[in-house]
Symmetry: C2
Subunit: 167 residues, 2 copies
């Protein structure tokens, strides 16, 4: 049936069709998806992807330091610093520096930030549903699992995302 599996067979030797090369496919697909969803964030909320990631994790659990945000979003520290500065300026998040350790500062959503979060979430989920619409629930679960396994191999040192229970 699936002739794609056959296709896999023949380049098992030492031929490479760029089209079938997994890193290329991931890159192209991820780019297309990112572009599309970033356009939505940008157009409707004037929020960049990095800003969105910060808002997303603060929406999940409020009151994180920059470093915690960086870990959860896999952004680097400068990226968090700049995106957070811009969000602070726009009064979307607030930063309250820690009295005990004055190097740290807690970031959290302001009321305005929460509004934005609440407005974006349904859009983001709708887009994800749209993407997954052609997949059965089993297939979606399979995809999820496969991506997780690839992530473990691609980056064993860092846990790209927490699939298994973390403490």
């Amino acid at each position: 049936m699936k002739n794609s599996t056959d296709a896999k067979q023949d380049h098992a030797q030492d031929t490479l069709k760029l089209d079938g090369f997994l890193p290329y496919r991931l890159s192209v697909l991820s780019n297309a998806v990112s572009r599309k969803i970033a356009d939505m964030y940008e157009r409707e909320f004037d929020i960049s992807i990095w800003q969105w990631r910060i808002i997303a994790v603060l929406g999940e659990s409020d009151g994180l330091t920059s470093t915690e945000v960086a870990n959860r979003t896999l952004m680097d520290k400068p990226a968090v610093s700049r995106a957070a500065a811009s969000l602070t300026e726009r009064n979307i998040i607030s930063r309250k520096s820690d009295h005990a350790d004055r190097r740290k500062a807690d970031l959290r959503l302001t009321a305005k930030g929460r509004d934005i979060y609440d407005a974006i979430i349904p859009r983001a989920l709708a887009y994800e549903r749209e993407l997954l619409a052609s997949l059965s629930p089993e297939e979606a679960g399979m995809l999820h699992g496969l991506l997780t396994r690839l992530a473990h191999i691609a980056s064993p040192e860092r846990n790209l995302w927490s699939t298994q229970e973390e403490s």
Copy 2:
């Protein structure tokens, strides 16, 4: 354990965990994979990802114009132009302008380019195999098919890659 789940319960429907959000997962995985393989190209062959893409398609079918390369690699024309210029300078590809239509020029691998191609291919395939090592052949085929379907949805206008029988 996770006490955040309690807080989440009340609107369990429209909740988004960044970790489980498909666009995020694709982006993170693709980044990790790209970074890792780009390091290899760079370190061992002093070739960027874009340069590699050009070499890869010219290795598949020699004698393409910039525009054809751009279409097959999903790079934009300026990117092809610059990467090709650099490869030409390093004598990895040659450009021969078309007599009939002097706007066009055919790009093809030089002998040196072919050597590089032949040297990279096994490394690229080895990395792909490493990635796929934890997947059964059926799972790999499944992954292939799922990514293809997602690509159709993410970018229906453009055929991200030619999955349906060509040739």
